[in-house]
Every structure is written in structure tokens, then in C-alpha cells.
Amino acid sequence: MGRTSKEWSQKPDLPETHYVDQRVYTDPQIFEEEKEKIFARTWMLACHESEVSEANDYRTYRHPAGANLIVVRGEDGEIRSFYNVCPHRGNTILYDPSGNAKRMTCIFHAWSFDYKGNCVGLPREKAGYCTEDGCSITRGDLGLREVKTQVGYGGFVYVNLDDECGPLEDHIGSALDCMIEQIDTEPLEVFTYHRAVVHTNYKLWHDTNSEFYHDYLHVHNRLTSMKQEGYFDRKMIPFPNGHAEVGSHEVHYEAYGGSKSREEAGFPGMSGNPWYMVDLFPGYTYNLRASVLRIDSQIPLGPSRTMIEYRTLGLKSDTPAQRKQRIQDHNVIWGPFGRNLHEDLLAVHGQGRAIPSGASYIIQAREEDSTIHDEIGMRHFYAEWSRRMGRLASDPSRKPAARDLTTTPGT
């Protein structure tokens, strides 16, 4: 029987940790607060070291807190990041998304900068800024704004806008231990990159990566995973700081028409066709399906709009045959024409359309001893979100109590 308007808008008769108020996905003020309280203070995945493999290689990154960044590998081999903003009149310094620049030179007035962010070129410097009494501005005053940068966990470049932030290791902790041998034994290399701009809230994409009850959406997963032994034994494991691991199991790729085992092109230390997946707060995911590592990193553009970057990686040492195999494996379910990615994006697109216009609460109440269809991954994310935001996800007008900030199996 359908519900009346009053019934529909009533809070669910569930613990407050088991549902989310729709305003968390739609309110512009909450989105602005997220930029300040979460994205500006958290390590974000900007790119992979293979995208800046040579000295003076650079890559641009649109940071979710609003700053446009440059990631550059110096002549000393170190990777650094800077605001992609000329300190003179605020022009963009590097327009192309990647390239190689011994000097990063602003097109406007030819101010130029080196890989350490030093201003090394200032046309007619003395004529404009110096008199017999001295200089009002010197090159030393005009360096670029540098951003904290660390490389790790598979060679990914992480950045943090907060000058006072702790090390990356404190944020990630042991969340990626399940696949660290696979991703850190030898260098990786990005072989595809694309992005999707979707009219939805970024958390809805992260939720989709954090719950596997939605395997019903994918015929590929129903055939290759759900119908296979061990699927329902997979455990969801929460980690500090809002991260969650989805336990591995053996995938039977050959059960889907036209697909085959990925065993021959596995990652180091791997046998068979395992599937490792870790969701990292606040919006990026490591997804290792035997032969291909996919990284999702989100760049929220507004409360109802997000840009998702997809990178897929193999080993830098791949032979042409191994790389070809990885590409084929990737394309079956991932990429813009993959079977699963389109389905996932269609679903979050549908949420983005429906939630602002009619949903009151999003329910995340499945409890199955933290196994694969338990929604503990989402609950764990929102406990961290509530802690950071000082707002209760089930009622963002209220501050969370201590009991709302812990996630243990069965709660």
C-alpha cells in the first residue's frame, strides 16, 4: 500500500546511523561546508606518478575544494604541487592538462617559474619594481603557492591543501594492506583515463562503490560472482577515517559470454581471479579485478553534480601481449562502453534525478554480519562524514552524539 505525504516524510523507525537525510545530497550550504571541512583538509588523489614520468613533466588537477593545481616532477625527481595561478594577475599558468615545461611560463606577461615554484622570470623587473631606494617586489616574493604532496600506495600522487595536515600514512592507515603487495611490488602505469560528469551527488557514487547489494544491477556480476561459491562469505571491513575494504573472492569471468579468466595477466603475488576493493574517504576507490586496477577519484562540482575520473592501470613492465589482455579485460565491464560502468552511472544518474525531487531518507539498514550485502560500508562512511562535518547525516540540522560516530558490525 502506498504511503501518504506525511507517512513518506516521517523518519524511518531505525537507528539514526541507518538512514541519511536527503539534504545531505542536495543542500548547497552543506556542499560548501564539505569543501571547507572535508576536501580542503583531506589527502586527495590527484594523479599517478606515471603521468609525470620524466623531469619537468606536469599534470593539472582540479581540486575538489576549488583550487586548480599543477603536479610537476622536478629535475631532482621529486613530485611537487602548486596552485595553477600566476601570482601577478591570477591567470592560469598551464592550460594543457599535461605536458613538459622546463619553465612554467604565464602567457599573459611571461612571468615564469621553475619546478620548485620559484619565480625565475620577470620581464623588465627592475624598470617596474625597483628605484634607487630599493625594490618594492622581488622574485623571492613571487613564488607559487605550494601544496603538500606525497606519493604512495601504488605510486599515486596525493595532495593536501592544509599546510598543517598530518602525513598521508595517518589518513590511509592499513586500509590498503589487502592489496599492497599487488600495487607496490613494481611500478604501475596508467593506460586509460576518462571522466564522467554526472548530475548526482558525489557521495552517491561513493555509496555505490561501498555497497554490493547492488550487484543485482549487473548481469555480469550476477553470473561471475553472485552465483559463485564464496560470494556471500565476503566481508566488509571498516577502517579508521571512514575507509572500508570489500573482502576478496574468486570471480569466474568465463561465466559471462565472451569473457575469459584473467589469471594470465594478474598483478604480483596474485593467483586465480581475486577481486580486491577499498573505498577511501571522502571519495576515491581502489578496485583491483585480477588483471586491471581501476581508480575512481571524484571531483564534486556542486551538490547535484560530480566529475568522476577513471584511471586504469597495469604494470609498467607489461609486454605488449599482457597490456593488450588488460585492455580487453578492462573494456568488458569498464570504460565508457563497458557493461558495468554504464549501469552504475545510469543508477546514480537516476538517484540524482529522483532524490532532490522526492526522496526524504536514504536507507542503509541491511545487516548481515558485515558480509557482502551488509550496508556497513555506507554507515561507516557517514559516521566519519558526521564527525568531520559536525552534522548528523540522518538529521544534518543536529550535531552528532558520540554513539553516531562509531561503526561496529551489527550496529
Binding site: S50, E51, R59, D96, P97, S98, V190, F191, T192, Y193, H194, R195, A196, V197, V198, L217, H218, V219, Y256, G257, G258, R311, I327, Q328, N331, G335, P336, F337, G338, R339, L341, H342, E343, L345, L346, A347, H349
Partner: protein
């Protein structure tokens, strides 16, 4: 008119017609019709160059069997049912009479029309690079490389372009 030149022009015209027919078949989701234009040794790819990672990318790569399998599985998937419309302009056709082959370059624009309301938006631009073989009186597509300029494709698609 020289007989060979006339024959070559006839082939060029038939190649154009084959390319336009291939678009109509896909627009109508008549996959059997589309496969009817293809040779047993068909190779179909969708590729793009990424300026972000400075690499060539392959997003779809199938032989004929792979395309048949893709089409067979389509009804079992959850797909966006908004139709795609292909607008093709054949720029070049080159006929190699000695090899009974022709190659063609076609400009491609793909639109997506929302089922709910009928608004049409641009989905992708790119080119077809086709190779066609003349077998008796029949022309068959032996390779189609869809080369995309567009790389941001929204929620993507289950359909070939």
C-alpha cells in the same frame, strides 16, 4: 568515360551507401542488419587519444564473434534506452581495384535523444575509418575504427557507435 574509372566511381558510391546504411541499422538497433554488412573477419574498435595521460586508448575492440556476443547480451543489461542518432558525412573513399578493397574516412556526429521529453544533446564527435572488401557483387565491411574526439561521454553507452 573510361570503364575502369566508371567502375571505381560505382564502387565509391556503393561504399558511401554501405556506410550510411550501417548508421541507419545502428540507429534502429537492427543489429542483425548491421552484421549483414560485415565480413566474417570484421574488426571493430573504438579508440581515442588522451591528452591527459598522453596515450592512445582502446575502449572497444571486437572481432565479429565479439560483436555478436555483445549484441546477444544487450537485452540482459540495464541500459539507457535513449536512442542514439548517427550523422555521417563520407569525406573520402579510395578504391584499390587490384586488391578489391576500398577505404573510407567519414565524419561522425552522434546525438542522444532523451526518451522522456525528447530533448536532443550531442553525445560524441569523431570519425569512422573503414575498410571494405568487394566480394563478387557484394561489399562487406572488414574493419571499422571509430576514432573519437569526444572523451567525456556522460554515463557512457552499451551500444557501438
Amino acid at each position: 568515360m573510361d570503364t575502369e574509372i566508371k567502375a571505381s566511381r560505382d564502387v565509391q558510391e556503393e561504399v558511401r551507401e554501405l556506410i550510411y546504411r550501417s548508421c541507419l541499422y545502428l540507429d534502429n538497433q537492427d543489429f542483425a542488419g548491421w552484421l549483414g554488412l560485415c565480413a566474417p573477419d570484421l574488426r571493430y574498435t573504438i579508440t581515442a587519444y588522451s591528452p591527459e595521460i598522453r596515450k592512445e586508448m582502446v575502449w572497444l575492440d571486437h572481432d565479429r564473434e565479439g560483436m555478436e556476443s555483445l549484441f546477444d547480451m544487450l537485452p540482459k543489461h540495464n541500459s539507457d534506452h535513449s536512442p542514439l542518432t548517427r550523422h555521417a558525412s563520407v569525406y573520402l573513399v579510395e578504391h584499390d581495384g587490384s586488391a578489391n578493397e576500398a577505404s573510407a574516412v567519414t565524419s561522425l556526429v552522434v546525438y542522444k535523444t532523451q526518451l522522456d521529453g525528447g530533448a536532443t544533446e550531442l553525445f560524441a564527435v569523431g570519425k569512422y575509418f573503414d575498410t571494405v572488401r568487394l566480394e563478387g557483387e557484394t561489399l562487406l565491411l572488414t574493419s571499422r575504427s571509430v576514432r573519437l574526439d569526444t572523451r567525456e561521454l556522460g554515463i557512457g553507452s552499451h551500444l557501438p557507435l
